[in-house]
């Protein structure tokens, strides 16, 4: 009897473990997979198309590409919880990427923006907009703030980039009231023509027929 109970319990625990493991893995897989689809729509966006939805039922579209020390991510317009599951989000109503004023990009601390923890003063962060203009920013400060401190979103006269993610980085439970904020000041803006010449080979997944191939251009 006891044996049967123990075996039922262990089966149940196995099932719970499987489901939870699957859910957790799916969250990280989604963050990675979405970026692949987003790269495709970003290429279309760069080619001049507007509001390219990465998948048919998406309600957001890419607005920028952010290049962080550990790699680049396509940025979606809007920093809603739904968007952030797929990509960093550009906060609506803040300055456009590379534009004058404060441009705010938010991301998850355990996926796209995990690298924020390691950013220090002087690090470079680049933003590419739809026209291909790349703006280079230099990290000037970092801070832990309360989620109500929306003053960090305040307009500034100089072009400024503000990156936001949750804090602490190693917390298990999401939804805490604290945020980690990185400020970066404008260094230089390179128009498309100049960028083309300097651009390092880009690597991306592309679809060939029915299969995906990894291309280095």
């Amino acid at each position: 009897m006891r044996r049967r109970l123990a075996s039922a319990l262990s089966l149940l625990l196995l099932a719970v473990g499987g489901v939870q493991g699957g859910r957790g893995a799916w969250i990280y897989a989604k963050a990675e997979l979405a970026q692949i689809l987003l790269r495709r729509s970003w290429a279309d966006t760069r080619a001049g198309r507007e509001r390219v939805r990465p998948w048919p039922w998406a309600d957001a579209w890419p607005v920028a590409r952010i290049i962080l020390p550990d790699g680049d991510h396509i940025v979606l317009g809007g920093a809603s919880g739904r968007n952030l599951a797929f990509a960093p989000g550009h906060l609506d109503g803040t300055a456009p990427p590379g534009g004058s004023g404060t441009c705010v990009v938010a991301g998850h601390r355990d996926t796209h923006f995990s690298v924020l923890e390691d950013l220090v003063e002087g690090d470079r962060v680049l933003l590419e907009d739809a026209s291909g203009t790349v703006t280079t920013y230099r990290v000037t400060a970092t801070a832990v703030v309360d989620e109500n401190e929306t003053g960090v979103l305040a307009e500034s006269a100089e072009p400024t980039l503000v990156l936001i993610t949750c804090w602490p980085f190693d917390a298990v439970i999401p939804g805490g009231p604290q945020r980690y904020v990185v400020w970066a000041e404008h260094v230089e803006t390179l128009k498309r023509s100049n960028v083309e010449r300097q651009r390092p080979p880009s690597r991306s997944w592309s679809r060939v027929g029915s299969s995906w191939r990894y291309f280095v251009r």
Partner: protein, 678 residues
């Protein structure tokens, strides 16, 4: 990091609440261990460092006699820190308030303030401030937003500033209305920040569209930290007639009646987070038909006259088809109770439409959306579609008002004899003047009616927008008022009841304000002020009412003698002169004329301030003075998140899922191990 930012809400000591505020540059800060108990602290850019701010409390005494309101507002600034402080408090007053006196009260001494040109007054104040003298300065930022600055409040000291104003009581649809605003709702500031250092201490930067934004956006205390700025208020009401009803819809005020028909209204234990509203209705048949108040000053007479056209019932009106464009504010400040009231009001208004009417709806926040590209006939299907659309409206985002306003006023086709724009908003924007200019320029044959929503709307915007729009202003403060107020508005929307109003005074050189009386809607009286050489004779008012001439006379010599009518006259003249700016008159020209009136009648205006200085210096030369902006509450019913937002969330539940998975698997493995052992 050059940009200043909000830096946190921390609770300190017993009473202490830390508030968001911007420190002056170069200000010295203190740590938490260094402050006295019960200090009000404002956070600075440096985490863990704070500046002290004086505690503010207000005591208001209002006296109502007939149509004239006289009020004394005493603001006490208490310094519980160990520092010498300057307090800066941004607060509202009624939009028609003629602020004529200020007293600085230091212990037993009372120093009378003087009206001076704004820059001169500021210089006097600054000098006293640096010399260590106690001083106070009252400046006008908007007709309904003022700033009190008090310098050199010593450690443990309390200094009071007593401000006196007068205004004309509002009488509309058979109801008298006394409104005393207590909090400046956070205003939306459009435009790009300017490069120069912002002048004020507010949470907004000065922008190209609102160059004084930092002066009209006092720091806002997060509601989680409780309420501050307690208010005590008493009203002595001499209505001059028997009353049917007297209520205070905004607060649980105590109402008691003295002998002789005098009533006393007392409010204690309130905090400055909403407008105080008192309403009374005369007993049936005792409604005033006309009222005259006069004052003689230096050989000239000042008159305040109210004439009520006869009630509607006997007039037959033909309802004309109309095009109605509804504009509804769905910005973040409308979040919570306000958006519910706004939707409710709009749904009621949609039901009033008839099939021969045309209509459209525009909703706006940071952007605006029109229900349809152009107005449609109000057939049942269209009205049903509109209702569904309205039900889904939610409040979020900024308040970019110019776009939707211009869209609503653009009269693209002449469907109908009447064209009405109904604007539902709390008016919480900082660029009022630009909007007035646009209304004035683009109005055409449209008429603009404003509906003010919420516990602390910007009444200055509501009233002036309706004046420029040649419509009327309705205010809805609570959900229970919606149907009543909307009913009054529907009556007004039918037609102006009195047009082409002309006034003839016994003195042909009478200086009358407003100098042209606008068309009146149902329930509205003619209220006019004048300066003239004689009171012998009648004021003759005439107009056109339902295509018939209407005429009435009021004997001026029987008017009640009342002090301060000159101020009411001067205040109205200043309001009219200020309106000229929206009509294209150069500001320099307006300024000159306003200065003359304001200085002669001792009034605060955009160009004149009240300043008082105590002669003896009290702050030791080696003690430093610190400045703090006194924070305000969020208006009642508002949602902090909707206005100031919060930073986006930045974590997934991925780790929780993986961790529980690991735990479950480990337990399962452990159980299996247990089983083999057993």
């Amino acid at each position: 990091m050059a940009s200043r930012f909000f830096s946190g809400l921390v609770t300190v000591a017993l009473l202490a609440v830390a508030v968001v505020a911007f420190p002056q540059q170069g200000e010295e800060t203190i740590g938490l261990g260094e402050v006295g108990r019960g200090s009000l602290l404002a956070a600075t850019e440096t985490p863990g460092r704070y500046i002290a701010v004086p505690l503010q409390s207000t005591e208001v005494e209002i006296t109502v006699k007939g149509l004239v309101v006289e009020a004394v507002v005493e603001q006490t600034f208490e310094n519980r820190s160990n520092e010498w402080l300057e307090g800066v408090y941004v607060f509202p007053l009624p939009q028609g308030a003629a602020v004529h006196a200020m007293k600085l009260v230091v212990g037993n001494r009372v120093i009378e303030g003087q009206v001076q040109e704004r820059e001169a007054a500021r210089k006097v104040y600054q000098q006293a401030k640096t010399e260590g003298k106690k001083a106070s300065l009252v400046e006008q930022e908007r007709p309904n937003i003022f700033t009190t600055s008090v310098a050199n409040i010593g450690p443990g000291e309390a200094i009071a500033v007593r401000i006196a104003y007068q205004e004309i009581l509002e009488y509309d649809s058979g109801r008298f209305l006394l409104r005393f605003p207590m909090v400046v709702g956070p205003r939306y500031i459009p435009g790009k920040p300017v490069e120069t250092e912002s002048e004020g201490m507010g949470w907004a930067f000065d922008t190209d569209k609102v160059p004084d934004a930092s002066r009209i956006t006092p720091p806002v205390l997060h509601p989680d930290n409780g309420k501050i700025n307690p208010v005590k208020l008493t009203v002595s009401l001499d209505a001059g007639m028997p009353l049917e009803r007297l209520i205070c819809p905004s607060h649980p005020a105590q109402i008691s009646a003295d002998e002789g028909g005098l009533r006393r209204i007392r409010l204690e234990g309130a905090f400055a987070d909403r407008d105080f509203v008192l309403e009374w209705v005369p007993a049936r048949g005792r409604e005033p038909r006309a009222a005259v108040f006069t004052e003689e000053l230096d050989g000239v007479y000042y008159v305040l006259a109210m004439v009520m056209p006869p009630a509607d019932e006997f007039v037959e009106t033909v309802r004309l088809p109309r095009e109605t464009v509804f504009v509804i504010d769905t910005s973040g400040s409308m979040g919570g109770a306000s958006i519910l009231q706004a939707r409710q009001a709009l749904l009621l208004a949609l039901e009033q439409l008839r099939p021969e009417d045309f209509f459209n709806i525009i909703e706006f926040d940071s952007n605006f959306t029109e229900l349809w590209p152009e107005s449609r006939p109000a057939m049942p299907a269209a009205v049903a579609e509109a209702k569904m659309w309205v039900e889904r409206l939610d409040a979020n985002g900024g308040t970019e008002m110019m776009g939707p306003l211009l869209a609503a006023l653009s009269d693209r086709f002449e469907h109908t004899p009447l064209r009405q724009v109904i604007f539902i908003t709390d008016g919480c924007v900082g660029n009022e003047d630009a909007l007035f200019g646009a209304i004035n320029a683009e109005l055409g044959r449209s008429r603009l009616f404003t509906i003010g929503i919420g516990s602390a709307p910007n009444s200055h915007f509501m009233e002036r927008a309706a004046t420029f729009g040649r419509g009327s202003f309705t205010h809805i403060g609570t959900p229970s008022e919606v149907s009543l107020r909307m009913g009054e508005l529907f009556a007004k929307l039918e037609n102006p009841v009195l047009a082409d109003i002309e006034l003839v005074w016994p003195d042909p050189d009478a200086d009358t304000w407003p100098n042209r009386v606008p068309d009146l809607y149902s329930g509205e009286p003619v209220v006019v002020t004048a300066r003239l050489g004689t009171l012998h004779g009648d004021l003759e008012a005439s107009g056109v009412r339902a295509h018939q001439a209407w005429r009435t006379g009021v004997k001026l010599s029987v008017g009640k003698d009342s002090a301060g009518i000159n101020r009411l006259w001067a205040r109205r003249k200043i309001a009219a002169l200020m309106d000229d700016r929206a009509r294209g008159v150069a500001e320099t020209e307006v300024r000159e004329k306003v200065l003359e009136v304001a200085l002669e009648h001792h009034l605060v205006s955009k160009y004149t301030s009240l300043v008082a200085v105590d002669v003896t210096p009290t702050r030791p030369e080696d003690a430093e003075l610190k400045s703090g902006a006194v924070p305000t509450n969020l208006p009642a019913g508002w949602q902090h998140d909707k206005v100031f937002g919060h930073l986006p969330k930045g974590a997934t539940p991925g780790r929780v899922h993986l961790l529980t998975a690991l735990l479950a698997l480990a337990l399962a493995v452990a159980l299996r191990g247990l089983r083999t052992v057993v």
